[in-house]
Amino acid sequence: MELGKAGQETVVIHSVERDVLVPAGPDEAWQAVADPERLGDWLGGEIELDPVPGGEFHISFEDGEERSGFVEELDPDAHRFAFWWRRPDDELATRVEISLDEAEDGTLVRVLETSPLATLDLVGIPLPSRGTGGPTALALACA
């Protein structure tokens, strides 16, 4: 198996990034993230969470799928929510980060889901580009 060059600072890990513009200011948009009922509404399930670092996170999707994990950070000042989740039969958890950016005509809500583990074998192997959904190189140390 070919691995990346020695001394490289980063590894390629797979990730999906999406964003959407909502017609509201950052504080109003944040309510759709911080309020578990509103968050659950757009994530498509019922959420239970303990909003502290390390607190439990659980979502029951409408189709019966369950995922659980923990809260990494729920920061109302920075407007950033990071959590980890996995299905009961998944070996690996993925990390989801939701962050807000004020835009001219609303707020840009960004979502980044990364699977920092499963792709470590991909180091040095380019993946086909898929536009905004393509893989992103990130420092694992920051994951």
Binding site: L3, Q8, A32, R38, A118, V123, L140
Partner: protein, 106 residues
């Protein structure tokens, strides 16, 4: 904290450093890693063991040493994951936008 070995393994900065080093630099023994990084050999062994329990690294005995490498996973899995997860977020963000296009009563 959660009892999940993967969560626990990744929650530690030293273990992330070791994992990054193994991914970037290729397989290595604990002695080699201890020489390259500001961690004692004993510390390296302890952290590698946690990574191995979480199935993030595998180990092969070579004489008196054990060589560690990052666990491989099929390329196809990664591409499939990106397509699946991307599609899920497309639907979810459309639902988020819908929340704002139908203003909630105050």
């Amino acid at each position: 904290m959660s009892g999940e070995p993967v969560f626990a393994a990744l929650s530690d900065a030293t273990r992330r450093t070791l994992l990054t080093r193994l991914a970037d630099g290729g397989p290595a023994t604990a002695t080699q890693l201890a020489a390259e990084l500001p961690i004692t050999r004993q510390g390296v062994v302890k952290h590698l063991e946690a990574l191995r329990e979480a199935q993030l690294v595998t180990s092969v005995r070579e004489g008196r040493e054990v060589r560690y490498s990052v666990t491989p996973a099929p390329l196809a899995d990664a591409v499939g994951w990106i397509a699946d997860v991307g599609g899920q977020w497309d639907s979810r963000l459309a639902a988020l936008q819908a929340q704002f296009s139908q203003p909630r009563t105050k």
